[in-house]
Amino acid sequence: MRMRTIELGVGAFILAGFLALMVLMINVSGLSLSSNDEGYKIYARFENIGGLTVRSKVTISGVAVGKVTDISIDPDAIKALVEMEIEPKYDYLTLDSSASILTAGLLGEKYIGITVGADEEMMAEGDEIEDTQSALVLEELIGKFLFNKVSE
């Protein structure tokens, strides 16, 4: 009888440990078990990406539809080449969509906002957003402001 309570306790302990692992996986790290279906990748070239990082979110009208998967320099154009992965259910990005790098709040993280255009054709794997707008870099903004003040 004594052994039985010990075994019950140990079983509950191991179960609690694995439940904790599940909570860490799903709630804390936000790993969803169903999102194994890969999204499609699209590209965009930016003059300046500011503080954009891999894993930053990609949004349409503020709703997250994907994430940044890779950032590199395009050696031909000497521009930042951003690779984004869009979830497959958001398949209504038109070819003339535009992408801009936005900031959450005044000093918050950078993310990509996509504005959908009016084209008939939709983006597919490997397509590129032509119309892009760079990140707003605070120093440049202040520099422009000062320059304007001086020239007045």
């Binding site: 302990f13 191991i14 440990g17 904790a20 692992l21 860490l24 996986m25 709630n27 804390v28 790290s29």
Partner: protein
């Protein structure tokens, strides 16, 4: 001068011999394949002692550490209007560092010292040598189950510690201080990555569990069989394993997150 040099050599050789003995003991107790009919009940009993009975202290300290992190983070971050980042801060610091380290330290104090004292007393009362007399390998019967129990328990305890800590942070931050719950979770989930953060935390816990139980079991097995020797061995267990945890934590962090 010569005497001091000799003393240094003597101490060095003693330490080296102890390290060698502990490696031999580790090797024998890991390689001892027990009869599952005998071994599993022994392991279950040790899991109960080492794991289940440590749950209370782990849960309580995890809760308070999560709560205090949340409170401190809030008072600082609210000045910058970014109190939603509390979730991210608490989860990252718990999962990466605090859970494995604090759970390991508590485990060394709660379970490691008890293991040392138990095995040391068995040695002092010559239970270990009488076991050898009747043909039972004490490494297989006594040391191996305790070793495996510690090795299995600490990662589980660490995960429970993290979850309870996050829950404590949620309690203080969201329910008492009024952080918006949606952004609390969203920031946390955006910042914590399963592979780099959670899995590396678990790897740390596995390493710490290995080190703590190894030190505890060896100190007990190798102690001087007197009451003074047992007390020394117990102290050594707690001191050595705490230092080993903190040192290894820096090393592991540097390897995992530091791009060294």
């Amino acid at each position: 001068m010569i005497d001091q040099l000799q003393a240094l050599g003597f101490t060095g050789m003693n330490k080296l011999a102890a390290l060698g003995r502990s490696l031999i003991m580790l090797f024998h107790s890991i390689c001892a394949v027990p009869n599952p009919r005998v071994g599993i009940p022994l392991l279950v009993k040790q899991l109960h002692f080492v794991g289940v009975l440590s749950l209370i202290i782990i849960v309580v300290s995890g809760l308070f550490i999560g709560m205090v992190l949340s409170l401190q983070g809030y008072t600082i971050l609210v000045d910058y209007g970014s109190e939603q980042a509390v979730g991210q801060m608490v989860a990252l610091s718990l999962v990466r560092e605090l859970s494995p380290v604090v759970a390991g330290l508590l485990f060394a104090g709660r379970a490691g010292s008890a293991l040392t004292a138990e095995i040391g007393l068995m040695k002092a009362t010559e239970q270990l040598s009488s076991m050898e007399m009747i043909g039972v390998d004490p490494l297989r019967r006594i040391v191996a189950p305790r070793f495996w129990a510690g090795f299995i328990s600490l990662p589980l305890l660490t995960m429970i510690f993290s979850v309870v800590g996050v829950w404590g942070a949620l309690l203080v931050g969201v329910d008492w201080l009024g952080i918006y719950e949606g952004s609390f979770w969203a920031n946390m989930q955006a910042a914590v990555d399963f592979r780099t953060d959670v899995l590396n935390g678990i790897i740390k816990a596995i390493v710490f569990g290995f080190i703590v139980t190894w030190i505890a079991v060896f100190q007990g097995y190798d102690c001087i069989p007197t009451s003074e020797g047992i007390s020394q061995a117990t102290t050594k267990t707690v001191v050595y394993s705490s230092l080993a945890i903190l040192g290894m934590d820096f090393l592991l962090t540097a390897l995992m997150f530091g791009d060294l």
